[in-house]
């Protein structure tokens, strides 16, 4: 299988503002020597607590930030040194879904235009009817009615908004989806709808997915392989079931032990 997404030895550090004039500026190593690869149809789960570097890693994979060192490949092509314009031409192949769908939807834009925005960038010459038809089809795929096209984000529930965000991310038929806590802000009953949707899309589109979450139960359910991050480092990686049943690193063991479990398990 081809590696749709690959990262080799990514490093990223930030310099913190100093607390006083006399102090040295502190440097935070957000991502330290992280390598990963994802194949078509495969889901890589990334777990870690706050400050582990998992969201910085997501931004590096999306090329929203440049690494200090290391190399990044999208669909086999090295994109580490590409210019912003060159990256833009390739962005339709890699999309992202965030935790808070409300924050990523423009409140003044109709759902039609919100979902079509990445399409407009990827295929600028598309006829109006075709554009509308593509959006309607995508909305249907994520379980929303086409008659919702002319509504605005505030007219939807949290679960529906996350579906809209997913429709927007998938409209250009990307090969890679990076999902950063996509179901964490949702109620349990709605969360299950979104997780089912993501597994369907993975099968249907052969989507490679990087799924980032602090929720170990969800990562176990959804991902084929997983990585555990702590202080910017990958402390453990492997097949998801192996990591859960025979965790190798003490930190992984601590995470699994701390995870609240239902009495029925």
């Amino acid at each position: 299988m081809t590696r749709v997404l690959e990262a080799r030895n990514l490093h990223k550090s930030y310099i913190l503002p100093r607390a006083s004039w006399w102090e040295q500026r502190a440097r935070i190593e957000a991502v330290r020597d992280v390598s990963l690869h994802v194949q078509a149809g495969e889901t890589l789960g990334i777990v870690g607590e706050s400050g582990s570097g998992k969201s910085t890693l997501a931004r590096l994979l999306m090329a929203l930030e440049r690494p200090d060192s290391g190399r990044l490949f999208w669909q086999g092509e090295e994109i580490t040194a590409l210019s912003a314009a060159e990256l833009r031409a390739r962005r339709h192949g890699i999309q992202m879904v965030f935790q808070d769908p409300y924050g990523s939807l423009d409140p003044r834009m109709r759902i039609l235009d919100t979902v079509a925005e990445p399409l407009d960038a990827a295929e600028p010459g598309l006829a109006r009817e075709q554009r509308r038809a593509r959006v309607a089809e995508m909305l249907e795929r994520v379980g929303l009615n086409a008659d919702m096209l002319v509504r605005y984000p505030h007219q939807f529930s949290g679960g529906q908004r996350q579906r809209i965000a997913i429709a927007r991310a998938l409209i250009t038929r990307p090969r890679i989806l990076v999902a950063d806590e996509p179901a964490s802000a949702l109620d349990v009953s709605i969360q299950a709808q979104i997780l089912n949707l993501l597994s369907d899309l993975k099968l249907e589109f052969g989507l490679a997915m990087v799924f980032i979450s602090h929720d170990l139960g969800i990562v176990r359910y959804l991902s084929d392989r997983m990585m555990v991050m702590q202080h910017g480092l990958v402390v453990e990686e492997g097949e998801t079931e192996r990591v859960f049943t025979v965790p190798g690193h003490p930190y992984t063991r601590a995470l699994i032990a701390a995870m609240p479990k239902l009495a029925t398990e």
Partner: protein, 313 residues
Amino acid sequence: MLRVEHLRIRFRGTPILRDLSFAIDRGEALGLVGESGSGKSMAALAIMGLLPPGMEASGRILLDSEDLLALDEASLCSIRGRRIGMIFQEPMTALNPVHRIGEQIAEPLVLHGVMEHAEALREAESLLERVGIEEPCRRLHSYPHELSGGQRQRVMIAMAMSCKPALLIADEPTSALDVTVQSEILDLLRDLRLQEGMATLFISHDLAVIARVARHTLVLYGGAAMETGDTIALLRQPRHPYTQGLLAALPHGRSKGTRLQPIPGFVPPARLLAEGCPFHGRCPRGDARCAAEQPPLTVEHTRAWCFHPGRVE
């Protein structure tokens, strides 16, 4: 210790809480579970006498046989923080950013006339030690922004505990924390409850967290009680279709490769909920009677308010 009887809250004629009754004994914890819009936080606000304007409450809220709903604001002020301690999800909104934490922990003690300022500061130090803050003497002089999320929640707990309340209300106290920190805070709350003999009302959307802290659980939906009982019995063999739906929707170790079973639809606004059972419309067993009539209380190993209780087919 705490006994809530037939608590009803209405807002402009719309029922927000429907005839809620429950009790918590000394040293016991009750878990209140529900999704957004279930009314769980509204119940907590009613107990604290902090309902938003326009909300009309009826029924009784008895704390040591004194009806809190019948009290005026002045009397409630003397109870809040003294006999009822509170902790919330986001400690940063409850802590004052421009005051040192020692002063903030000492404040309720001085305000309620429990002790003088100097003595209260010494008490604050020992409270910080009890909630597991290292170097408590030095930390007294810290500001909230100098602490981590877990430490801030510990400070909140120290404040809530300062006057040795009879009742502690914890509303999603660990939802914003990392799992390892969450685990420490849950242990701390349990230890303090057992040592002090406080009754604890623990509110969460997370069944797994509730399972860890509370022997009894009450499940709310749309402002009404769905099912209550011993937490383990409720999770192992739920009888109400809503409790069953919540559990089926959760991913767990054995669900890998299978489809999760979401509850169809979404929570409608309160004014559109059915007169009878609010879960009607999303319930797989609902019928015309559920829409119109109040479901009866059925008692087996759990207590469920339902016309069609029983195992999942």
